[in-house]
């Protein structure tokens, strides 16, 4: 194989939810490769399957069928504990609702992944401080989430996601609860992190946000509708138009 192995790889990935006797195909046979260093925006209307994909990539959920690999490791072959360690060491999560622990200050929130780490992470306090400084909150380490603005809370969440030096940063609508100016700040931060070598995958429905990414993938009805890295994919997704659309 001459090609560089992708950091995230999905093959024929499906996720089916059952609601009563109805089946909802949230993901329907998705093939996707994301390479190290990419900045990918996943877009699509709600219910298109983008969040389901994110949960699978984040090792938070298991697919109904299909297989996925992160750093070359097949997730289906990993135990619950191994998946936890993968989330801890390789992945960093940023959520729309920040999901900070309300009773703990920024510093303690950022320390949390480091404290769950099983590998040697060195000086936890120093690393937490470093991450908060990186997101520009070095002076607010002892603030609790309630004492911080939305943008600041999301920065804390990003610092937390970075603390264990993950190779992949996953953000699910990270700016959904933020105003435009703050959105720009957060996305610039992500761009910076991406330039430092972290693979970033962002879910968004805003074109401005997606504009920060180097690659845009659109989802519809559980399938990839378009992928900026593969311009000819569209006909595969919509076979009805394929013949006429080809030029």
């Amino acid at each position: 194989m001459t090609e560089v192995r992708p950091i995230i790889s999905c093959r024929n990935l499906s996720k089916i939810y059952r609601m009563g006797d109805q089946e909802v195909r949230a993901l329907d046979g998705v093939d996707l490769d994301i390479h190290a260093g990419e900045f990918v925006a996943i877009m699509g209307p709600s219910g298109s399957g983008k969040s389901s994909l994110m949960n699978l990539i984040g090792a938070l959920d298991r697919p109904t069928s299909g297989e996925m690999w992160i750093n070359g490791r097949a997730l289906s072959e990993m135990s619950r504990d191994e998946l936890a360690d993968l989330r801890n060491e390789t992945l960093g999560f940023v959520f729309q609702q920040f999901n900070l622990l309300a009773r703990q200050d920024a510093f303690q929130n950022v320390r949390l992944p480091l404290r769950y780490a099983r590998k040697d992470v060195g000086d936890i306090d120093a690393r937490a401080k470093e991450c908060l400084e990186l997101v520009g909150l070095g002076t607010r380490m002892d603030h609790r989430p309630m004492q911080l603005s939305g943008g600041q809370q999301q920065r804390v969440a990003i610092a937390r996601a970075l603390s264990n030096r993950p190779s992949i940063l996953l953000a699910d609508e990270p700016t959904g609860a933020l105003d435009t100016r703050t959105t720009d700040e957060i996305m610039h931060l992500m761009q910076d992190l991406n330039r430092q070598g972290i693979t970033v995958v962002v879910i968004t429905h805003e074109n401005e946000v997606a504009g920060y990414a180097s690659r845009q993938i659109h989802f519809r009805d559980g399938r990839i509708e378009s992928d900026s890295a593969q311009p000819d994919l569209k006909r595969a997704a919509e076979p009805g138009q394929a013949a006429g659309g080809r030029t």
Binding site: R87, N88, E89, Q104, L112, Y116, A117, R118, A161
Partner: protein, 412 residues
């Protein structure tokens, strides 16, 4: 590392809702307090009984005429044909008998120069002091020669001495018992009350004198038995089976009293230590009952803890999801909630212990019993509380640990 994060999260959760924590602990508090009171009372009773056994002597046998059941009920004991001094001598010949003494006793009026006091005068042999493990603290005991010669000497118990000689000095003084002048040669060390609960007799209100002198000059002889004694006490050699000794003494006395094989004994051989042990067994039963009560309240408390832990897991499902998303393993979550339950119970245990201490103190005041709070009791009470935390915290903690990360994260 994971233990650290579990404990800090647990204590934080505990103090974030102090009122709820306190109410949850209530059952544990009551349970631990009752464990503590129960154990202290039990231990106190045990110590008291042990003290009694050592004061009576575990390997002392008492022979009494008349029918006295093994169970301890005295059916007119002493009313039957008394023993004779020759019986005492025969018993003294048995290889396992260290010392033996006959006893004759009577209430008598003693008069000193200072006071007038009704007390119990007991005639005994020189072996009396050894058999009863009762020694003089001042002066001396009477000798075998004095017993043989019928010397008019006596040793006073502490209470009798204090009443007859309020001035203090008794040794060398004379008293008169039924007009017989008797010289005081010693004072016995105090023995205290017999029987428990402060209702026994004062064993120090007594006077011990040579058996022959007491019979000849105070109680008078017996119509059918010459040189009679009303009781015999004997000390069995250390390490010799007391039950075996009891059987051999019984056999000897049946022979001497010419009881034919089918007939029942007309005397009784009693081991007081056995009787006390039976009482101890009764106290043990009581203690078991209290332990059962304590166990029930601990279980009720534990169910309360389990209930609130289940509520806590549900309330914090999202937090659990987040912790899992950033890399907490199931085991980390399990530990966190288990620690929370244990911390809840241990804290309740500490409060319960303080309360139990107060209860023990109050009991000691009211019942005039010794206050027994040993490290073993404290360890047991705390251990019980922590175990309740482990047992009743495990199920909710496991439930938290088995949550599905994505479902937990979506929970609201």
């Amino acid at each position: 590392m994971k233990v650290g994060v579990a404990t800090s999260s647990a204590t934080e959760a505990l103090f974030s809702n102090p009122m709820r924590s306190l109410l949850t602990m209530l059952g544990i508090i009551i349970g631990v307090a009752s464990v503590m009171v129960m154990m202290s009372i039990g231990e106190g009773a045990k110590a008291q009984i042990e003290a009694q056994i050592s004061s009576v002597g575990a390997n002392v046998l008492n022979l009494q005429p008349g029918n006295m059941n093994r169970g301890g009920r005295n059916q007119g004991g002493g009313s039957g044909r008394p023993f004779a001094e020759s019986d005492v001598a025969a018993i003294g010949e048995l290889p396992f008998v260290v010392a033996a003494t006959g006893v004759l006793s009577q209430q008598a009026n003693a008069v000193s120069e200072e006071a007038n006091w009704v007390t119990n005068i007991q005639g005994g042999d020189a072996g009396f002091f050894e058999v009863n493990n009762w020694r003089v603290s001042e002066g001396r005991e009477f000798t075998a020669q004095e017993v043989q010669g019928g010397a008019a000497v006596a040793v006073l118990g502490k209470t009798a001495a204090a009443n007859l000689f309020p001035g203090g000095r008794a040794i060398g003084e004379r008293i008169r018992v039924n007009s017989v002048p008797i010289e005081i040669i010693g004072i016995l060390e105090p023995k205290g009350q017999s029987g428990g609960g402060g209702m026994g007799m004062d064993r120090d209100d007594t006077m011990i004198a040579p058996l022959s002198m007491v019979r000849n000059r105070i109680t008078g002889g017996n119509r059918w038995v010459s040189r009679h004694v009303s009781r015999i006490q004997l000390l069995v050699q250390d390490g010799y089976d007391v039950m075996q000794a009891q059987e051999e003494v019984t056999a000897l006395m049946r022979e001497r009293r010419k009881i034919s094989p089918g007939d029942s004994d007309n005397f009784a051989v009693v081991n007081f230590a056995d009787m006390i042990k039976q009482r101890a067994a009764a106290a043990e039963t009581m203690s078991m009952l209290l332990a059962f009560t304590a166990a029930v309240s601990l279980i009720v408390g534990g169910v309360g803890v389990m209930n609130i832990m289940l509520v806590s897991v549900t309330e914090r499902t999202r937090e659990i999801g987040l912790r899992m998303a950033i890399g907490a393993r199931g085991g980390d979550i399990l530990l966190q909630f288990l620690f929370e339950a244990i911390a809840l119970c241990t804290l309740g245990g500490l409060i319960g212990m303080a309360l139990g201490w107060g209860g023990v103190f109050a009991y000691a005041q009211i019942a005039n019993a010794p206050m027994m709070v040993s490290p073993v009791i404290i360890a047991t009470a705390l251990g019980a509380a922590a175990s309740v935390g482990v047992i009743f915290g495990f199920f909710p903690a496991r439930r938290a640990a088995q949550l599905d990360p994505i479902q937990a994260l979506r929970h609201d």
